[in-house]
Amino acid sequence: MTSRETILARLRAARRPFADTPPPGDYLPVAPVDDERPAALVEHFAARAEALNCTVYRCTDERAALAAILDVIGADRQVLCWDFAHIPLPGLGAALARAGVAVAPPSDPSVRVGITGADAALAATGSLVIASGPGKPRQVSLLPLVHVAVVRADQIVPHLEAWLATVRARGLDAFQAASSTVIISGPSRTADIAMELILGMHGPGELHIVVLEDTSA
């Protein structure tokens, strides 16, 4: 018998534990959000992200968003960046070019700033949901010391349970199509040296989040 068969046979032969556990009812959200109106979600998201040591830029027009990003890039001549199609700032490519900033290959470990979009954001925990895919390398949000993420206000959902509802609505195939989905909550951190909080252990030590708010609303 293979180990697979041995293990499964042993489990099947055993008296079933917890056979009387009731089926799941409605799940209580782990981090409920009191006010789920769009404006309140932006407020909540920004407050939670800032509490996690992120810098949040709430921008009502594209110009302000681009200015914030160029400010973070500073004098650097190179950035890592997703394909512009996946970042909700149509003018980003042109703005980088005008500023003389080139996009380096995603595996270049010497680049300081990485720019991504996001697939969703969670108000309750100040988190970004980021899936990998063509044009969306995972290294861009991982290798650089500084991660800049651009998210539209209407991508902010109340909490992880609400995000899951959107996953169900789109169908599990879409979820499984991304080989990696990571929910990022603040900069990389460690407390392994005498419980002292240190940011930027392996991943980015700075997380800048540009929130594009809809001015027409």
Binding site: S3, R138, M201
Partner: protein, 475 residues
């Protein structure tokens, strides 16, 4: 990893004589326990307690269907492009990993924290095969440099002071001396970054596997978990067979309860869901993903009264709450899992007789159950293990003799009375103070104060009280 649990008493005694160790452990566990309370009850105590019950039910539901969920998970992992391997024991885990390493011409391995890999002694097996292995979780990296096992499942280097870590980095890595922790971490980041970029294979553990989608889930803070699953050509995940959950809903619940219980974070920095190796058109990610489902003693627990311990999500809250762990630190427990969870798991996964001291390393205060996010009844299992030890004849002969004498005495009121009188009189012969020379029983009294018997026994008091009442009634 070979268990040293048989040496618990001696190791604990050494730890008790090490105040700096106790200071470091106490400060760390107090902080973690306080943060855990704040995070679990952030939305009120009722809400937090309801979450615990919800999470406990999710784990129990999964265990009740474990073989079916494992098959479902295997099918979906395979459909997602992963290769699923099964390992009955430690040797088979190591053999699988060595096979994979040979197939992909692997020379360098980077690892993120995996307690299963500690169980099976994977690093030694890889080193013997001439493969370079580097731990990349900062805490694991530090203890790998120091040649020590972890002393906590979440913060493996909880026992080391900042100064000790500084000295280690200076001596082993040539770090310019500094007392600044962020500078020390940056130095380690530089060393490890080079290792990530040049490694051929990444090894991780797995916090959960979602059966309905075949998703491997990791929870990390530093980002090394993302590195080892994104940069090397091959990713191997070692996952205990008990880690499977049925649905995304159960996962979403558990992956939030875990960091709240572990470190008091609402979410870990990186809550990572992996649905297979790099897909066509993707610019990065591993070319191959292997998931090794590890039994190593778990299926033998499954049908027993200890099955609920398989619900553990390895948050470490019970460890942070335990007064014994606070006094002894983690190394005394002698194997991978310290604290109350270790006192239950080590006898069950290694050897009951060898680990016979561990079920007694508890004051049965009940705090471990109270803080457990999945409501595992650790005190009940510690008591049951003590019962098993007696049944299996693993208690010292003097314990048996004493218990037989107690049993005989308590069955006869006359014998009981004379024994109590003898104890009252006898204690006058013992010296004052806490150290009592009880001969072969000295092991018991060395760590406990012998209580004084009351001058009057309850029986004598009761008799006198009744006489008094009779007199009142008659008057």
């Amino acid at each position: 990893m070979r268990s040293q649990a048989a040496k618990f008493v001696a190791a604990a005694r050494r730890a008790l004589a090490d105040p700096p160790l106790q200071d470091a452990v106490k400060r760390a566990t107090d902080t973690a326990a306080r943060k855990r309370d704040l995070a679990m009850f952030a939305h009120g105590r009722d809400h937090g307690e309801a979450l615990r019950q919800q999470a406990a039910a999710a784990r129990r539901r999964a265990l009740s269907r474990l073989p079916e969920l494992l098959e479902q998970a295997e099918a979906h992992l395979t459909a997602n492009g992963a290769t699923v391997l099964w390992a009955a024991d430690a040797a088979e885990v190591c053999a699988h990993v060595l096979d994979i390493a040979a197939r992909h011409h692997v020379r360098r391995v980077t690892k993120s924290k995996s307690m299963v890999s500690e169980e099976v002694g994977l690093n030694d097996a890889l080193a013997e095969a001439g493969i370079e292995v580097l731990e990349t979780d900062l805490g694991e990296y530090i203890i790998q440099l120091a040649g020590e096992p972890p002393s906590h499942i979440v913060t493996p280097v909880i026992h080391k002071s900042k100064e000790a870590i500084r000295d280690l980095f200076v001596q082993r890595l040539g770090m310019p001396p500094t007392d600044d922790a962020p500078t020390m971490a940056r130095f380690a980041r530089g060393h490890l970054r080079a290792a990530f970029l040049s490694s051929d294979m990444g090894i991780s553990g797995g916090n959960f596997i979602i059966a309905e989608t075949g998703t491997l889930c990791l929870v990390t803070n530093e980002g090394n978990g993302r590195m080892v699953t994104a940069l090397p050509r091959v990713h191997v995940a070692l996952v205990g067979i008990e880690k499977v959950v049925a649905t995304l809903e159960e996962y979403v619940l558990l992956t939030q309860v875990l960091p709240r219980s572990a470190t008091g974070q609402a979410m870990a920095v990186y809550t990572h869901m992996i649905n297979g190796p790099r897909r066509a058109g993707e610019p990065d990610g591993p070319e191959a993903l292997y998931v090794v489902l590890v039994d190593n003693g778990r299926s033998a627990i499954y049908g027993t009264s200890y099955a609920e311990v398989l619900g553990c999500i390895r948050c470490g809250a019970c460890i942070n709450a335990c007064p014994i762990y606070e006094a002894t630190g983690g190394h005394a427990y002698g194997w991978v899992y310290p604290g109350p969870i270790g006192a239950v798991l080590t006898p069950l996964l290694t050897d009951l007789k060898d680990a016979s001291a561990l079920p007694h390393a508890s004051s049965l205060c009940g705090k471990c159950k109270e803080v457990c996010p999945v409501d595992i009844d650790l005190p009940r299992m510690l008591l049951d293990l003590r019962y098993d030890l007696v049944e299996a004849g693993h208690m010292p002969w003097l314990w048996d003799a004493g218990m037989r004498a107690w049993s005989t005495a308590t069955r006869s009121p006359r014998l009981f009375h004379s024994a109590a009188r003898a104890a009252q009189i006898g204690q006058g012969l013992l010296p004052q103070g806490r150290k009592v020379p009880l001969g072969p029983l000295g092991g018991w009294s060395a760590s406990r104060e012998l209580p004084r018997f009351a001058r009057q026994s309850f029986r004598a008091w009761w008799a006198a009280r009744n006489q008094e009442e009779d007199r009142h009634d008659q008057s």
